[in-house]
Symmetry: C2
């Protein structure tokens, strides 16, 4: 039996996708080889590579002048590459601090250049992201960096600030809702939450931005290198991209990002209603910023939380433990997480409250 997997990342993948990968794992399209064993420059993988880029461009309706890149090293690597490529000597970059992930991006920015914290609500409880009104922006800043969804705190931007060079870490909500990519200079996302397995990082970049990079930056660390090489400057992580290809096909078959957004909002609304319907559970994020991806909540004490997590796991509801840095309970319900799993969690929450409330 498939578990209901609430892990924050690596996270649940669509069962249909896993079955397809399993079926052709030893023999991709009658080649007598696994896709894992094939050259990244051969015709089979090249077709996957091109299709994945095309699917992402279609799903997000990406305008001309942007490139879709497959990189590695996750968001943590992008935290460094962004200032290395885009923050010129003497310039300032604006960052918003909305929680643990934003703080990590800020730390690397500060290591490499001048950073202005345009707003800081990173440690507030209930958790939230900055309001558009409170942003204290620098004139002529190299860029403004935001974290579109804080995986740990469960706070999500619902409306984005306007900026000539807006950069967003979308690791935990990319492809969960339609997006006007033209409003962004650069978007990045580790795949292991809403896109596929760990091992590939999706980057969407306005091409002209890449030209800012000084030539003292190592070749592999320049966005321009990956644009010029169509993400094949060096060996791309072929199997993770193949899985991403299957996930994008699945998204298209499910009706694209409008359909995904509808489903995600329905799943999240049900779960938040269950939290709000009783004093036994308390949501962690302010209502306006509640994440559709990571639903965070608390019970009165940590002992009860531990009991909740353990008993849920026995009922096949797995991965509900909040991040080790903050505790509590976190239900990550990305695109691939089925609605029945949310219903099962809500039933369990009622049972648990009845027994322990």
């Amino acid at each position: 039996m498939r578990a209901f997997n609430f892990s924050a990342g690596p996270a649940a993948l669509p069962e249909e996708v896993l079955k397809e990968a399993q079926a052709e794992l030893l023999d991709y399209q009658n080649s007598g080889m696994s896709i894992m064993e094939m050259s990244h420059r051969g015709k089979e993988y090249s077709a996957i590579h091109a299709e994945t880029i095309a699917n992402i461009k279609e799903l997000l309706n990406i305008p001309e002048g942007y490139s879709v890149l497959f990189m590695t090293g996750g968001a943590s690597t992008q935290f460094a590459l962004i200032p290395m490529n885009l923050l010129g000597e003497g310039q300032t970059a604006d960052y918003t601090n909305s929680g643990a992930w934003a703080a990590k991006a800020i730390k690397e920015g500060q290591l490499l250049g001048n950073v202005n914290i345009a707003a800081d609500c990173g440690k507030e409880i209930p958790t939230r992201v900055p309001t558009l009104g409170e942003l204290n922006l620098t004139d002529g800043a190299a860029y403004l960096h935001i974290t579109s969804n804080e995986t740990i705190s469960g706070a999500q931007w619902k409306q984005f600030p306007e900026h000539e060079t807006l950069i967003a870490d979308m690791s935990s909500d990319i492809l969960s809702r339609p997006l006007d990519v033209s409003k962004f200079g650069l978007i990045y996302a580790g795949a292991q939450k809403n896109l596929g397995p760990a091992g590939v990082t999706l980057v969407i970049i306005r091409d002209e931005l890449a030209k800012r990079c000084p030539d003292t930056v190592p070749t592999i660390m320049r966005y321009q290198t990956h644009i010029d090489g169509n993400s094949l400057f060096n060996t791309v992580p072929t199997f993770p991209v193949y899985m991403l290809c299957l996930v994008t096909r699945w998204l298209k078959a499910k009706g694209g990002l409008e359909a995904m957004q509808r489903q995600n909002e329905e799943k999240a609304a049900k779960l938040y209603a269950a939290i709000d319907g009783t004093d036994f559970y308390t949501g962690t994020a302010v209502k306006e910023n509640r994440s559709t991806m990571n639903v965070t909540f608390r019970i009165a004490n940590e002992e009860l939380e531990a009991k909740f997590i353990a008993e849920a796991a026995e009922k096949n509801l797995k991965g509900l433990k909040g991040h080790r840095s903050v505790g509590g309970i976190r239900a990550s319900i990305y695109n691939a997480f089925p609605a029945e799993g949310v219903d099962a969690l809500i039933s369990f929450m009622k049972e648990f409250e009845a027994a322990n409330g």
Copy 2:
């Protein structure tokens, strides 16, 4: 039917390993989840992570004081990280140029610091690696960098130079033969040739070396970060490491690196004997440096080579085309490549010569 896959990388994996991965792809150890869907900090993946490190330490008999790291970005990323971490201001690093891969390492070294080319045979035909006698080493060099096997040219170091801080790119021959790791400061290898699928880079580092890194280097780009975090500072590419785990188990079951070396030498010797037994084929590398991993050879003209590659593919002998930069024929016969495939290639070579010689 499984093809005989001579690809240089991504390359053939053991059929048993692929079958095991396939069998448990949707349900890892009755968890109801794929290993791809599991947290990199959960108990299932943690066990795989620890076992993979232990297996590599056992296979290579790695002494105390070294760490085994799982990184990303392939050898191309290591080309930059090595000087960033280990080449101090005002210091010089020695590099040997043995071909295309060494040249790439040198290029990044030169971008980031002072480089001395200790020997240069990178463009010689027949291809080779430097002799120990011709190395022109710098007193007090930060390190000496070599490329243990040139995947493109088919030239391999058989005996390594002595150096206090010897660094080797072993992407295409790691775990193909026993190795005295204590003679090296740092060894690195992209997984996609002899270890597993693309997406993880194996690094073996003498711990004290990592301390050299200046604190201006971004966090994720310091070896120390990955040593301190046991390669879990950020999300490790879990599925590629899982595949690497299965490959290391397979290597142990096959008798370890002594057995592998014996098999690799037997496979290579047979193939080189077939090349040497006729004037129709000409080996690319000098005999003393012939690679046991990448067997490179030529036929009199490119038209015949193209015909050879095409007809071989029809007989299920795939991936024999030499690298696009040099042409010719390349049979990559890594650990996982079966001896029967070498026999099949030799038979085909005889047939082809009889028809076209």
